[in-house]
Symmetry: C2
Subunit: 422 residues, 2 copies
């Protein structure tokens, strides 16, 4: 027998162990359902929207016809994003995110190759190893991977309180943890919330800002579902809206130093594959630090050229946002009507925004992992599991309703119901 | 006065301090020379090729006409690269890198968004914090940034020995360091070498492989200039060529476990901006680990689609490689003829490969930093400095000869000469 190969590092070995939540996703990707492969898995566990492919195909084709190739994209460009992209984002953020009258400064934007890399990097920039971000639970299952895997940024969470069919922030526990844990460096807000679909109220946002000011910690606001509002009676406004419209000049100035916003082409725009995400912050230390490591998170300039044109066409953006919301609402309505018909086995929380419904099985006499397994193995349907969202309550699941046609979604849910009725 | 903003982390503060070598590069990017901006800086310090823009523009336009838009690229795809890209790379590596008869396995490839991210990640996967890679010096100025900045992988170096106009590996010192420093986990070979343009001889490569086997450490071979051979009497062969053609079956098997190859679209193909790099390794631990963190280094699928078609056209690849070499050789010949005429102020090492000439000023009575400053400030020409390549000898510079027309290159060198003759 030969001597063994040279060892790899401890961290290398640790990377090799994929997070538990990701294993069923890989299983779906290896054997996806289609009419030709009816035994494949129907994937309701990943947040992807295919609802607007027609609009995207048309728009991208139009841009490409104008810009078939541009040799300026061949060489290195501005690390952290082209000026044109930052200008487009300034206009977009002003109109659709912050919803304020004054223009934003393009220098306060950075462009990175994906939301996960922005989260990972800002986590490392704000927290030293084994320091914490504090957030509501349940929370998006990939966050521990994004923050802790390579940079040892830890998450501490406060369970949202479900009352009268809505989730509410538990400020008292936030305060207790901020008081007791001296290693918390920031609050992470995900608004609209993943997985619950909650839109935070102004009172809640101001309450979180109060806590950040009182304990002098950062607020990172992940707003990647901003344009996917489902409830027509509600409106999304970026946390930065409240910074910009703050009447108390001293409070406004202090908030400027501690709020950072994350946005992306992945969710609202259905372009996960393009790896395009944005940081907006006026904190000069965060900007300088993240500018400096932007070389490790560069967007393809080929894609940058395409997307800076995409985001510069305000007329198209408005049409897309409107159409996207109509289509999301239609799918959400169909799914909720279906779930209402099966209230004997499923209860759910009506989402304000996003592309998923967070629901709970009423069958809770058997272990939640067994319920998941029977839906996956027999029903051939993959759901994102509440236990990986660190939900303190059992038997919760997140299902994406935007990643397939209604016909397939209905098929999937009929199978889910069947598995639950067994 | 307001209370200060929340602090950022120690590592965040450290990131903010850019490496010294990068400051003159940013200065060039902010104020680049052109006919319209004659006072701007002429940048000879960054390795970019513009020599084949015509071929690239034509080829990319051709592919784009066929694939104007593909909605399959909108969603998440295979992390670590599409199968089609890996298949194209298998064929390319077999023919142009390894130069072997048998087909390669696409599963041994990973696709990452840039050579720097491959280097950073494989460094972290092979070495724990404060462990070492060992390499020849002078070495590419960005390597300490790539390896140490975020993952604390350190570099120890062995000066190449310049004798009879050629650089030679100092095996004795390699052996001494491997014996004395118990924290060396791998040897990093850059072949063709940056900045000297050296092609390693078979004897040298086998000697490095011997050391890796003896001390049971990895060999990382960065071969990003593989197709840019300048000397027609020499031929590039990947280190993996020698693994595959090894007659001793036991040695071959052991080498398989310790050699990893890095390649990229950036240098030979003039596409720095597209962020497309490749890892080839048969070490299953490295593959599994780097597959697992590929989600942080994803190539835009829009660019992936383009480039998997690009690299699938063998006829085009052969034509490009041939034309590229002809053009590089022509520029190198012109530059060396120019330098020969100015041998009173400059001496240089004839490069075997690459897109730069490594030269030394004969004016060495004043400090090398002052020489650089006068070339930069008065001559408005930026060179990459040997001191940032950790050259043990002073007054060395690397100039790229492929990033502009000869007219501009000649202008730049006339200014360099003028500054040196002062």
């Amino acid at each position: 027998t030969l001597p063994p190969s040279p060892p790899i590092s401890h961290r290398g070995l640790a990377y090799s162990q994929p997070s538990e939540f990701i294993k069923p996703i890989f299983k779906c990707w290896q054997n996806p359902y289609s009419k030709q492969n009816p035994q494949g898995y129907i994937n309701l566990g990943v947040a992807e929207s295919v609802l607007n492919k027609d609009l995207l195909v048309q728009k991208i084709a139009d841009i490409r016809k104008e810009h078939l190739v541009d040799s300026n994209t061949f060489g290195y460009g501005d690390f952290g994003g082209s000026l044109k992209m930052k200008q487009a984002m300034s206009a977009f953020f002003q109109r659709h995110m912050l919803k304020v009258d004054h223009e934003l400064n393009p220098d306060h934007f950075l462009v990175y190759a994906g939301t996960n890399t922005v989260l990972e990097t800002i986590g490392a920039v704000i927290c030293n190893e084994d320091e914490y971000l504090l957030l509501d639970s349940p929370y998006y299952h990939a966050l521990p991977m994004d923050f802790a895997r390579r940079f040892d940024v830890l998450l501490e969470s406060v369970p949202l309180v479900l009352k009268d069919g809505q989730y509410h922030v538990d400020f008292e526990t936030f305060r207790t943890l901020l008081t007791e844990n001296k290693k918390i460096r920031g609050i992470l807000l995900v608004n609209p919330h993943n997985p619950t679909g909650k839109l935070y109220t102004e009172r809640e946002i101001q309450g979180l800002l109060d806590l950040c000011l009182e304990f002098n910690v950062h607020l990172i606001s992940d707003e990647v579902y901003a344009q996917s509002v489902l409830d027509p009676s509600k409106e999304f406004k970026s946390v930065y809206h409240y910074v910009c419209t703050e009447k108390d000049a001293e409070r406004a100035k202090r908030l400027e130093g501690l709020v950072s916003i994350i946005y992306s082409a992945s969710k609202d725009w259905g372009l996960n594959g393009f790896r395009l995400a944005f940081l907006y912050t006026r904190n000069q230390q965060i900007l300088a630090s993240m500018q400096s490591v932007a070389d490790m998170n560069l967007v393809s300039r080929d894609t940058m050229l395409l997307m800076e044109n995409f985001y510069s066409d305000e007329e198209f953006l408005q049409k897309f946002i409107k159409t996207n919301q109509e289509r999301l609402r239609k799918m959400a309505a169909k799914l909720m009507a279906f779930l209402d018909e099966h209230s004997d086995v499923i209860e759910y929380v009506k989402p304000d925004a996003g592309m998923f419904v967070y629901f709970r099985t009423k069958k809770r006499d058997i272990d939640q992992v067994k319920v998941f397994d029977s839906i996956m193995d027999e029903g051939r349907v993959m759901l994102a599991q509440g236990r990986f969202f660190q939900d303190v309550n059992t038997h919760w699941y997140r299902c994406c309703f935007a990643s397939m046609e209604w016909e397939d979604l209905e098929l999937a849910f009929n199978r889910v119901i069947k598995a639950l009725q067994k």
